[in-house]
Amino acid sequence: MTAFWVSLRIVLPALLFVVPLGAALGLYLARGRGMARSIVDGLVLVPLVLPPSVLGYGLLLVLGREGTIGALIERWFGARLVFTSAGASIAVAAVALPLMAKGAEAAFARVDRELEEVAEVNGLGRAATLRLVTLPLALPGLGVATTLAGLRALGEFGATLTFAGYSSHTATAPLEVYFAMQQGDDSRALALSLALVAISVVAALVLRRWSRRA
C-alpha cells in the first residue's frame, strides 16, 4: 500500500498544476489562431512524443543539481528536486500535461461558438461567458481529459526514474513493480500490478460514461 500512498502524494499535486494549466492551454489551442498557436501546439506535443527517459534526462539537465535552474534553486532555497516527491511531481506533470491540454482542446472545440457569441453580443464579458457557457458545456470533455492525464500520471515510470530517481519519497507503484521484479519479489510485483490494472479498469469504465456525455 505504501507505494500507492507515495503515488498519490506525487500525482495529486502534479494534477493540481496540470489540470488548470492544461485546460487554459486547451482553450487557447481551441480558440487561438495563427503562427503563435501552431508553435504552442507543437511545443505541447513534444513531451507526448519524446521517450519518457529522454524527457526525464532533459529535466535533469535543467532542474538537476548541476542544471541551470536546479543549481539556482539549490543556492537560493537550499532545496533540491532530485530524489524528492516534488521532483517526481514535476516529472509526472511534464508527461501528463500534453494529454490534459489536447483533451481540453477537443472539449472546448466541441462547444458551439455560436453559443458563446450570443452571450457576448448580449453583453456578457469574456470571463462571464467562460463561466456561464463555455466551461459548463466543456465539463464532460474536461473530465475525460483529467482522467486520462491522471492515469498517465499514475502510470508514469521513465521520466520519474530518470529525473527523480528511486528513493522512499519517489517509489511510486510503477517503480515499485520494476524494483520488486528486479529483487525477485514476484508476489509483490504481481500484487502491485493487479492493483494498477484494477484502477485502470475502473477508470476506463468511468471514462466510457463521461465520453458518452461529452
Partner: protein, 207 residues
C-alpha cells in the same frame, strides 16, 4: 440611436456591400435566403470584421480601421437565426445573467413562457425556443436590437403577438433590425426596409 453602416464584408467566397441607415423604429432587412442578411447582422454585432468601411451607432464608432468595440460593449440585444440557446440552462437561467429576478419573471410572461421557466431547451417546442431567444435579446433593454428571423417557427397568432412586443420596444426608442424573408411579416412590422440581392443592399420606404 442612429445606426450607420457602410461596409464591405466577405464570408468565404461571398462578398457583401452593405449600406444601412436606421434610427428608432423597426428596419426590416428583407431578401431571399443566402443574400447576406445574417452576415450584415453579424457585422453590426462585431462577430465579423469589415474588409473596408465603417459601422457606427450614434457617436460611437463600432468598427473602422483600427477602432473595434468588443461585441459585449456594443449595448446590443441579439437573437440569432436558430436561437443559440444554452442546452445546460433553464429558460429562467437564460435571462438571469442579464436581468434581475423581477424582470426575468416579467419577460418570461411577456413571451408566454411563464409555465416553462424551469425547463431546459430540449424540453421546449420550436416556438417556445424562439420566444426564449427573443426574450433573452430583450433582457437588457438594449437600444439596438438585432433579430434574425426570430419568429419563423411561430404560429400566426404568436407571430402577431411577438411582433407587437417588437413594435412597442421600438416605440420606446429602440432601433430594431429585423431580418425576415416573409413579405407579409416585413410589411406588418417595418417602418423602413433594406432589401438584399446579389451582394448589395438597397434602402426603401415601402416593400
Amino acid at each position: 440611436m442612429t445606426l450607420s453602416v457602410d461596409a464591405r464584408v466577405r464570408a468565404g467566397s461571398f462578398d457583401l456591400d452593405v449600406r444601412i441607415e436606421a434610427s428608432a423604429g423597426v428596419t426590416v432587412l428583407f431578401g431571399p435566403t443566402a443574400s447576406g442578411k445574417t452576415l450584415a447582422l453579424r457585422l453590426i454585432a462585431g462577430l465579423v470584421r469589415p474588409s473596408s468601411g465603417f459601422v457606427r451607432a450614434g457617436d460611437v464608432t463600432f468598427d473602422e480601421h483600427g477602432t473595434f468595440v468588443r461585441p459585449s460593449a456594443r449595448g446590443i440585444g441579439y437573437a440569432p437565426q436558430h436561437g443559440a440557446l444554452w442546452p445546460h440552462r433553464t429558460a429562467r437561467e437564460h435571462l438571469e445573467p442579464f436581468a434581475n429576478a423581477a424582470r426575468t419573471t416579467e419577460l418570461l410572461a411577456l413571451v408566454d413562457l411563464a409555465d416553462c421557466a424551469d425547463r431546459k431547451p430540449f424540453a421546449l417546442s420550436g416556438g417556445e425556443r424562439q420566444r426564449l431567444a427573443f426574450a433573452r435579446s430583450l433582457a437588457r433593454d438594449s437600444k439596438l436590437l438585432l433579430l434574425d428571423e426570430p419568429f419563423s417557427a411561430l404560429d400566426d397568432d404568436a407571430r402577431v403577438r411577438m411582433g407587437d412586443v417588437v413594435r412597442s420596444h421600438a416605440e420606446r426608442g429602440a432601433t430594431v433590425l429585423f431580418v425576415t424573408h416573409d413579405r407579409e411579416e416585413a410589411r406588418r412590422l417595418g417602418t423602413r426596409f433594406v432589401t438584399f440581392a446579389a451582394g448589395r443592399t438597397e434602402a426603401r420606404d415601402t416593400l
